[in-house]
């Protein structure tokens, strides 16, 4: 069973994503900021990371860089919002494999994950 790490400071988003993903049979882990995301990544080595950009403690971009530093094969999908174009570009340059724009639909997230796991 593929492991997915959800990183978002909004509990509501984590709950919703967790529901989506566990319904589809993924094993889900959560972190509510970038710092925890990095340590959780190292601990559980998820197959895919869904990473919010704007978070307290450590933002998603920094966490992405640290995760990719640690594991260049890391599959990180950025969860982003309108107005963050330049961040997305930087994320992709820094090794993000994909990005999904909020508000996202179930299929869009699933597609991003299945594509990466292919």
């Amino acid at each position: 069973m593929a492991k997915v790490l959800i990183v978002d400071d909004a509990e509501f988003l984590r709950v919703r994503l967790t529901k989506m993903l566990s319904t589809d049979g993924y094993e889900v882990f959560q972190a509510d900021n970038g710092l925890k995301a990095v340590s959780t990544y190292k601990e559980i080595r998820p197959d895919v990371v869904l990473m919010d950009v704007t978070m307290p403690e450590m933002d998603g971009l920094t966490a992405l860089k640290e995760i990719v530093d640690f594991d260049p094969r890391a599959r990180v999908v950025m969860l982003t919002a309108l107005g963050q174009e330049s961040v997305v570009l930087e994320a992709v340059k820094s090794g993000a494999r994909d990005f999904v724009v909020k508000p996202f639909e179930h299929e869009r997230v699933m597609k991003a994950i299945t594509k990466l796991l292919a």
């Binding site: 049979g25 340590s39 559980i44 174009e85 570009l89 796991l117």
Partner: protein, 691 residues
């Protein structure tokens, strides 16, 4: 018309609580931004909160909230990037936006559209950009690009492959998609020609058509598979051949969702298909669901209904009563049957049960605790709004917002605090002119402090305003017939201050819409007494006033001293007690018909609980009595009782509508021995005794 949001029953409380949390952060921090002038850390915080609200409301499809927060976020982003200056106007518009967002949040609860109009606010937010000369637009960062130019080394077997792609220009960050294509091609080999150029892509402008020739040893299939992993690309041609599996995978949802997409055809993408996942669900749900949900690294928290906590607290209350009862049975048994093996075992069990009950009570109380910051943090905003109305400039300083209190106590204390703070804004703090003339700083300060002290909570509301004039209070009280002129003359200034807690007394020269219409502080004091707390006031003319509120840790269980008066037992809340004394009948003197005693050189008025509650005179002559010294405000008084029975945590039971209010009694408690004790209402007692 009912509004429909994409949110389930179980998600709703999380959503609401989280939105509230971020709205509160916006309220608090926006005000701090105004005084602390754009401290970057604060700007980052408000930006993040606006951003999170935008994301969450977008997910449930609350478009009005999303649009409004987006406009707010843009302004805060402008502040963050220094393209907009912080001004009072900016803070006003942002705070009005927060208010509007609160109203819009209600729509999620009621499913009824609110009357709030957002277009004007969005316009006002956008106009904030216009006021700043520099445009809010930021140039894309032009960082040194990674080495991307074709390396001279030709790869063995490499050949030129032409790759063409159409990127949906309406999608967000089409440049990032182009960049992803570029990355794949770089991995595949050397890029010989590319349109747009890497520099153009990095400017983050929109990219529609992408074409490149890559010198690569990869097979066409290999390259196709790698390119197929990129989302948001409509069409990919490799050497003129359409990559079959991209079309259906392209996504338009990055632009505003237009219509639901048709069922996906994922067959071309190697990987588990949806039905396969679907089947695994049943397999997984029961076994792993919980663990997956909790997540190893996430906060292990559970949200629950407040009513459940209340009923848990009630049960613990019952348990405490039983524990107290068991302790008494044990004492009786020890006397009756002496010590034997059975008794030892029983006694040990009772001790253990008592310890567990204590721990259980502590844990339940801890669950019910909330930081007092939950209410204190609302006050800076309230004070800002009120002081603008009356032309004053007032800062609010908060200490101890982390101090935790029982949630029901927090609710009870909210109104009294609002009243005290309004009082300070309206009557305490002077206008800037008056302050300057008095040689004080132009800005007034209200300081709110919360702290734990000896098992109780102390909250102070302090202002550096004009203080309260004891003489004026006396005059006003006489004028209104609340006290006689003689009584007034006998009061010291310090004693006069407590007159402000009398019903019907208000020294405000005119009625304002802030402090209400002549409602004195008596309401405040009554409310606080009702939760077995007490309030004291200190004032210095010209320097300020300080209200100090003392509260027990919880409403439901009151640590009390049990006393006996003839055949009845009374409970006096420990929070009200200063000390206890042993009285010799000879030590009781009469001053103008009222009993007093001398305590460490000063006179202490005494009242007999038996007299107050009109017990028939006991015949027996008592060799000695006890006095429990209690305080209310500045007043101290000794309550004469027959015996001190000891301390007990009594579980409060309301008297109920049938019995109604009994003057001098706040509520009842069931004791360990099954008896009922009345909990003494000290404030009411003072009134009864005419003090």
């Amino acid at each position: 018309m009912n509004m429909v949001f994409d949110i389930s029953e179980d998600e709703l409380p999380i959503f609401l609580a989280e939105v509230d949390e971020h709205l509160q952060v916006l309220d608090d921090v926006l005000i701090r931004l105004e005084t602390e002038h754009g401290e970057p850390e604060l700007v980052q915080t408000v930006f993040r909160s606006a951003h999170t609200i935008k994301g969450m409301t977008g997910m449930i499809g609350h478009l009005r909230m999303t649009d409004l927060t987006h406009a707010l976020e843009s302004v805060l982003d402008g502040v963050r990037k220094n393209s907009i200056q912080i001004s009072t106007e900016l803070i006003n518009v942002c705070l009005a936006t927060v208010d509007a967002l609160r109203e819009l949040r209600e729509e999620v609860v009621t499913a009824q559209p609110s009357v709030i109009e957002t277009t004007d606010l969005i316009l006002a937010l956008k106009n904030l950009f216009a006021e700043t000369p520099e445009s809010g637009k930021t140039a894309a960062k032009n960082e040194t690009p990674p080495t991307t130019q074709p390396s001279p080394a030709a790869l063995a077997g490499a050949r030129g492959i032409r790759v063409q792609a159409k990127i949906d220009t309406h999608s967000m960050a089409s440049a990032a998609r182009a960049f992803q294509l570029l990355m794949v091609l770089q991995e595949a080999g050397d890029i010989r020609e590319m349109q747009p150029t890497q520099e153009q892509i990095e400017l983050a402008s929109s990219v529609g058509d992408f074409s490149a020739v890559v010198e690569s040893a990869w097979s066409l299939e290999q390259l196709g598979a790698a390119l197929a992993k990129i989302s948001g690309v409509d069409e990919i041609l490799i050497d003129g051949q359409l990559l079959t599996n991209t079309g259906s995978n392209s996504s338009r949802e990055e632009s505003a969702p237009v219509s639901p997409e048709p069922a996906e055809n994922l067959s071309a993408v190697a990987g588990p298909n949806p039905t396969e996942y679907g089947r695994r669900v049943t397999d997984v749900g029961g076994r792993r669901g919980g663990e997956a949900y909790g997540g190893r690294s996430s906060d292990l928290t559970v949200r629950t209904n407040v009513e459940r906590l209340d009923s848990l607290m009630n049960l613990v209350g019952e348990l405490i009563t039983d524990r107290n009862h068991l302790h008494q049975i044990r004492s009786r048994l020890a006397m009756e049957s002496g010590l034997n093996g059975n008794f030892e075992q029983f006694s040990e069990t009772v001790t253990h049960l008592g310890r567990i009950t204590d721990q259980l009570q502590e844990e339940v109380m801890r669950i019910r605790m909330l930081p007092i910051g939950n209410i204190l943090n609302k006050f800076p905003r309230m004070v800002r709004d009120m002081s603008q109305k009356v032309g004053k400039v007032i800062d609010v300083v908060i200490h101890g917002e982390d101090v935790e209190m029982d949630r029901s106590m927090i609710e009870e204390i909210n109104d009294p605090l609002i009243h005290l703070i309004r009082n300070s804004v309206d009557h305490g703090i002077e206008t800037p002119q008056v302050r300057l003339a008095a040689g004080k700083p132009e800005r007034g300060t209200i300081t709110l402090t919360a702290r734990h002290e000896q098992g109780r909570i102390i909250i102070t509301v302090e202002d550096d305003g004009g203080g309260i004039d004891g003489e004026k209070l006396r005059q006003s009280a006489v004028q209104k017939g609340l006290i006689t002129a003689e009584e007034a003359a006998s009061l010291t200034d310090e004693q006069s201050i407590d007159l402000m807690f009398l019903a019907g007394l208000s020294t405000a020269k005119k009625v304002t819409d802030i402090s209400g219409r002549g409602v004195g502080l008596d309401i405040v004091s009554t409310n606080i007494q009702r939760v077995n707390g007490s309030i004291q006031v200190e004032t210095r003319l010209g320097q300020g006033t300080r209200f100090q509120i003392m509260l027990p840790l919880t409403l439901a269980i009151v640590p009390s001293l049990l006393v006996r008066v003839q055949e009845s037992t009374f409970a006096i809340p420990l929070v009200m007690i200063s000390e206890t004394l042993r009285l010799e009948p000879a030590g009781i003197k009469q001053v103008s018909g009222n009993p007093v005693t001398v305590l460490r050189g000063s006179v202490l008025s005494l009242i007999s609980l038996a007299d107050i509650f009109r017990f028939s005179k006991a015949d027996e002559f008592k060799k000695h009595l006890f006095a429990v010294v209690v305080h209310s405000g500045k007043q101290r008084i000794g309550l004469i009782v027959d015996a001190l029975l000891g301390e007990e945590e009594v579980v409060v039971k309301p008297l109920g509508a049938f019995i109604g209010d009994i003057p001098g009694v706040s509520s009842a408690a069931i004791l360990g021995n099954g008896q009922v004790a009345l909990i003494v209402d000290i404030f009411g007692l003072f009134k009864l005794a005419g003090i």
